[in-house]
């Protein structure tokens, strides 16, 4: 938040930055060096780095351009957390620093370092974005003037359009940390931008591609790291969950990675037992969603590989043989109630969804809408549109 005109609100203070330095061409190992800068506390970490570069060490490598959290160039890790250097105040950074109060700045993770704080976005991030066909494949025939689409559907995709390609989510993706080929949060959020766009003609092809890829939508571990990392509120993991929901629920894609089988097995087991029956979940996720799933060759293979562990668990009294075979179950009356909820909701023609990105949050003192009024608004309620349904 730079004040461009007028006098600064606070007097300049001293801040110490500890920068991670590395020049791969030098043959030297990475190292840390410290720079003390003098700036008003509301100035950004980027301004601090640029002052150090201007006054003490011109060789510091940092990429930046707009300095206003728009261009996405200055993605770094500050005190271990990913973010934009231009979008982090020095006083906030000092408050989140270790006990010594020194602000630690490192290059982003999951991407090779070109020099100091500059990482190779081309080698990782941009390749992955290209992987998802990041352009609109227009429905034919293209209308003479413009496509007419529902407003909510377009508002919905603006969330992923808010991405500034800074790479913060890629930096901290925990699936990518162990599986570098994972398409990753930024590119999959970009994929949703087109999958969710009612004007796009290839939702089915896009989703089949992303579901069948072993490093596609089902490789996400649901860790929320990208949700926290994003400085623009894109919610990449939320977009990945939508891709899964549309792939399975609307496009009926049964992928070879067990994504659909796992979801179907989980959902059915909770309907049938009320509680998760873990002993059934594994074989059904591999072999298919029925009691017979465990006899499928694909299930047999994995069960065999897990057998040693399972036997050990039973021997230690961790699982009783009875539990391993029958699982646990809710009382009948409650199980019936759960089943009724399933039947009512799953028989709706379109999924009923509350998208908080579109609706926002009620004001704290807002009078609640009477139940009858909310119910009569039905499935077409503008407050809770099924944006994904209308995007089909």
């Amino acid at each position: 938040m730079a004040e461009i005109n007028g006098s600064p609100p606070g007097a300049a203070e001293k801040f110490t930055l500890r920068l991670r330095r590395f020049d791969p061409e030098s043959g030297e190992a990475p190292y840390w060096d410290e720079h003390t800068v003098e700036l008003e506390p509301h100035r950004s970490v980027l301004e601090g780095i640029l002052q150090a570069k201007a006054l003490t060490d011109g060789s510091i490598g940092i990429r930046c351009s707009c300095r206003a959290a728009i261009c996405g160039s200055c993605g770094v890790r500050i005190n271990g957390e990913p973010g934009l250097a231009c979008h982090t105040h020095l006083d906030h950074a000092r408050a989140s620093a270790a006990a010594d109060g020194v602000i630690e700045v490192e290059p982003m993770g999951n991407m090779p370092v070109i020099k100091d704080l500059i990482v190779d976005m081309d080698a990782v991030h941009w390749k992955k974005v290209q992987r998802v066909t990041p352009w609109l494949i227009a429905k034919q025939p293209v209308p003479e003037r413009e496509y007419l689409v529902e407003k909510e559907a377009m508002v919905d995709v603006t969330q992923s359009m808010a991405c500034i390609q800074c790479g913060a989510c890629v930096s901290d993706c925990l699936a990518m940390e162990v599986d570098p080929g994972f398409i990753g949060p930024a590119a999959l959020a970009k994929a949703y931008r087109f999958v969710g766009d009612p004007r796009d003609d290839q939702q089915d092809i896009r989703l089949t591609d992303l579901a069948e890829d072993p490093q596609g939508i089902f490789d996400c571990t649901h860790c929320f790291k990208c949700v926290e990392a994003c400085p623009k509120g894109v919610n990449p993991m939320g977009q990945i969950m939508r891709l899964r929901r549309i792939a399975i629920g609307d496009q009926k894609i049964v992928d070879k990675n067990n994504g659909e089988r796992h979801e179907a097995a989980f959902t059915t087991l909770v309907k049938d037992f009320g509680l998760l029956n873990e002993a059934e979940l594994l074989p059904r996720s591999y072999g298919g969603n029925s009691w017979f799933g465990k006899f499928h060759p694909a299930a047999g293979k994995v069960l065999l590989s897990l057998l040693g562990v399972t036997v050990k668990a039973v021997m230690r009294g961790k699982m009783s043989p009875k539990l391993a075979i029958f699982g646990h179950k809710l009382p009948k009356q409650d199980l019936d109630a759960v089943k009724k909820i399933y039947e009512k909701i799953e028989s709706r023609e379109e999924r009923y969804e509350l998208n908080l990105y579109i609706t926002g949050y009620d004001e704290p003192d807002e009078t609640p809408v009477p139940v009858a009024a909310a119910a009569s608004s039905g499935e077409e309620s503008p407050a809770a549109p099924d944006t994904e349904g209308s995007a089909n």
């Binding site: 925990l174 929320f224 909770v270 409650d334 909701i345 609640p368 119910a375």
Partner: protein
């Protein structure tokens, strides 16, 4: 303190020692557990991935059952994944009165209603993991005063996992409620030594065990290995699903990362129970796949020294 208690599925299934140790520990902490034995699985995010309204309605039903528990002002869970899944649903239910009404219309068939601000509860409806309740309701001072067998010289690595630390806003983590440091604080209050290591707030890998087994076990193996390298005696986790990947699958994780790990993983109530004087066996420590030898040695040594 009386709480509407949601144990979850895994704590009564594959990790029965978790539910068992919580039941033993509760009276020592003056917590009265009223078990929500009519409530169903939270969906662990998977049902929400399938159909948001279904997950929201099933969890609203659980919340409504909790609100019927007389004399309870809080709901408590012992599973991070339950906390994460339920917090996500509660966020939507609380954010929009019209949506809440829509969900309650389905619950009405059973005569149930979820209220954002139920009468008799302290403020709005609150659902806390045992870890949060321990620090915020019981308090670290009171906990420290109850310790009978301090974890002296026991080096404990906190394993938070994901669902209980992210996203911060939804989970109410801020400067006044540093919930992402509570395991540190509890270990310290029990007299143990906190061991920090790279993986303590990373993903255990469990959610993708059926989709990408190799990557899943690589995650578990890497974090366990980091803890070994940091010289931890054991890990402690508030999440039974993390426990499955870190303990039950540890022999497989060892193969994937190509090193011996032999790292015991304790459920949070087990660690607290040990410090409060409960015995390893009654806390179900013998039921783990990785024998918590280092921990049990520690308890016998200390008991021996005190006698």
């Amino acid at each position: 303190m009386k709480v509407a208690y949601w144990p979850g599925c895994v704590s009564r299934g594959f990790t029965p020692e978790l539910h068992g140790s919580m039941a033993l520990l509760a009276p020592l902490l003056d917590i009265e557990l009223v078990e929500l034995d009519r409530a169903c699985c939270t969906g662990a995010g998977v049902i929400a991935e399938h159909n948001q309204e279904l997950a929201d309605t099933l969890n609203a039903r659980t919340f409504a059952l909790a609100q019927q528990v007389e004399g309870a002002e809080l709901m408590m869970n012992i599973c991070s994944t339950c906390q994460g899944a339920q917090s996500e649903c509660q966020e939507r239910l609380d954010a929009n009165a019209e949506y809440r009404g829509h969900v309650n219309e389905t619950l009405a068939a059973e005569g149930l209603t979820y209220e954002k601000d139920p009468a008799g509860w302290a403020g709005s409806f609150t659902n806390k993991n045992f870890l949060w309740l321990l620090v915020e309701e019981i308090g670290l001072g009171a906990l420290r005063a109850k310790v009978k067998r301090p974890l002296t010289n026991l080096k404990v690595g906190p394993f938070y996992g994901c669902y209980i630390v992210r996203p911060r806003d939804r989970l109410g983590i801020d400067a006044e409620h540093p919930r992402d440091h509570y395991l540190h604080q509890v270990i310290d209050a029990l007299g143990g030594t906190v061991i920090e290591y790279a993986g303590m707030r990373k993903c255990c890998g469990f959610p993708i065990i059926t989709m990408n087994k190799d990557a899943s076990l690589k995650q578990a193996g890497r974090h366990l290995g980091d803890a070994v390298d940091a010289d931890a005696d054991c890990l402690v986790t508030p999440c039974p699903l993390c426990h499955l990947n870190l303990d039950m699958q540890q022999p497989l994780a060892e193969k994937v990362v190509g090193r011996d790990l032999d790292m015991p993983v304790l459920h949070l109530p087990q660690l607290v129970g040990l410090a409060l004087g409960l015995e390893p066996k009654e806390l179900g420590l013998s039921r783990h796949v990785v024998k918590p030898t280092s921990v049990i040695d520690w308890t016998t040594t200390v008991v021996g020294a005190a006698a």
